[in-house]
Symmetry: C2
Subunit: 137 residues, 2 copies
């Protein structure tokens, strides 16, 4: 019953990290959650416009990797608000390294984190309340 093929390419921390987030989209999803986006549509409407099937897949993979968690905020149908685990939050350091590198060596790049100053949680809880609350009508 033992699977002969190893799940990891090597013991190297870099290789193992890339096995989890080494693709074109995963770290952008982490960036967005870190910047206060928690719902599917918020993530889908980021400037890069990730294809929705890829987004659904990345959310599953990142959750399986222990980087994000989906907390249900409604039933019928069940809907999840995605937040970062400590493991996911720690990826902020990697993102910061990419930002510094990109800004220094790739012309025309900027940092997109206005939420940082204006209060991330306020924005996100507002959008979640909008989705969760039964309105009297």
């Amino acid at each position: 019953m033992s699977n002969a093929k190893p799940l990891t390419r090597s013991a190297c921390a870099i290789a193992n990290s890339l096995d989890l987030v080494g693709d074109r989209w995963s770290l952008l999803v982490v960036r967005d959650v870190l910047h206060g986006k928690h719902t599917y549509s918020e993530l889908a409407n980021s400037p890069e416009h990730i294809p929705t099937n890829i987004l659904a897949d990345r959310l599953k993979r990142l959750e399986a990797a222990g980087i994000i968690v989906g907390t249900p905020y409604q039933k019928h149908p069940i809907r999840y608000a995605y937040t970062l685990t400590p493991k996911g939050t720690a990826l902020g350091e990697v993102l910061l390294a990419f930002v510094r590198w990109g800004k220094q060596y790739i012309p025309g790049t900027v940092t997109l984190n206005r939420e940082r100053a204006t209060g991330v949680s306020a924005t996100s809880t507002a959008s979640l309340r909008r989705a969760r609350v039964k309105r009297p009508g």
Copy 2:
């Protein structure tokens, strides 16, 4: 004559960085060059065993991105020794962030950089000399 499709997904430094090195292999090649591996076979024989066609492709892409440069060390046939540009060397900070994250949050990972202490350039020049020099037999 204007190409309608943008080459980049957004102006975000992270997105632009990932457009250059956001795949499973590029940063491992950078890691190896940083650790003193400069020839094709040295890179191909790293523990992760990158497929050779992918290696050839990544070397082209990383050179096109200004991250590495190939310097010819022989002719007939021409062969290149790959080294990092300042832009490539600066990716060391990103690699370091990945190492720290991986070591803290992915069980079973280690750092593979013995060269750090023993002198990278000594190792690399030795291996290049071996490739370049005519052996007496």
